[in-house]
Symmetry: C2
Subunit: 231 residues, 2 copies
Amino acid sequence: MRRKAIVLLSGGLDSATVLALAKKQDFMPYALSFRYGQRHAHELDCAQQIAAQQGVEQHLTVNLDLSVFGGSALTCADIDVPKDRSDSEMGATGDIPVTYVPARNTVFLSYALAWAEVLPALDIFIGVNALDYSGYPDCRPDYIHAFEKMANLATKIGTSGQHLRIHTPLINMKKSEIISQGLTLGVDYALTSTCYAPASNGHACGKCDACQLRLRGFQQLSLSDPAPYTS
Amino acid sequence: MRRKAIVLLSGGLDSATVLALAKKQDFMPYALSFRYGQRHAHELDCAQQIAAQQGVEQHLTVNLDLSVFGGSALTCADIDVPKDRSDSEMGATGDIPVTYVPARNTVFLSYALAWAEVLPALDIFIGVNALDYSGYPDCRPDYIHAFEKMANLATKIGTSGQHLRIHTPLINMKKSEIISQGLTLGVDYALTSTCYAPASNGHACGKCDACQLRLRGFQQLSLSDPAPYTS
């Protein structure tokens, strides 16, 4: 029998690829998205289209209000999203940028855990990446392992002798490898939105950290990115 | 300088006591409550009164929708809250009751963690109890330790060499000890709401697991509970 899995689906390039990988591993995908006060809510339209195109069992979008705490350029209108940063500014130095949303992955994975208990499902997929990433602490393997351990102690699942697993199939992949993998699985990257600060029509800026990492991935494959850009 | 601490404040007996204990330890308390689709939303009025009476620095109530996943008598109108259960039915057997809300403490602590990063604060207080409790897995010491470890890996706090601590001052206390402690600190238990299924005027049922544990605590101290009951 096919196993159910929850897939965190932001609507970006990484999570669209993760969804395709979960399907390839023969899981029945339940997609979970969040409206969390992000500036780039356009990604939620993308998440819906990706979920429909890839044929998920169910797609839930949870409303949550992380902006009540402030503190991030992605949820706080008073902080600018940085653009045209060099590599050394983009996380290679170990600095955490202003686009970091406090405890975001922890909150997202906690909701996934709640849904996992109810479905029930023993598998949660998340598209974190520890290589071509923006220097966020909650994308590292140590963090994911610690969350998995906590999750098994937190829930009925763990007390019943089963084991819940957090899958991070992209964690050691370069952006170009992610794209290459996704293309072989039929992911339509035209439907994905990566930009931290897209224009009102959803077109990507091409200049924020996320856009730069994405564009470089396509360049390294000598491909052009099918998503629409402002410039 | 006094340190900031986040105190999870449900409006019940335990969290009101925890708030008083955090103050006694000279922390500046920031109270955090949740509107999570619970039937017993009356407790949020109580939380507000407790926060005002004890003089917190700030009190935030976050809206979140755990009922979107269903699966608990506390958030799902189709599941009855059990009443008049015996000890063996109330968790001493190791069974997890239907009032368990999937991953609730994990979601709550994740939000506390987000606020802790922004304030910033290095201390989070939660009123979990591993003795007179309802058999929920996310009230056990092992779970709390695992969350604390994960939290330090998840955040800027941990990467900057500081240590975030989850305080559980009630974890090994009997209900009667909690009440006794709170009374010496001036907690007004008339303001607290413990019932899983209160009447529309907020009066407690006296029969659900939470009411029974609370009433027994007062009985053991030969005190009467100052909170209003239906019967």
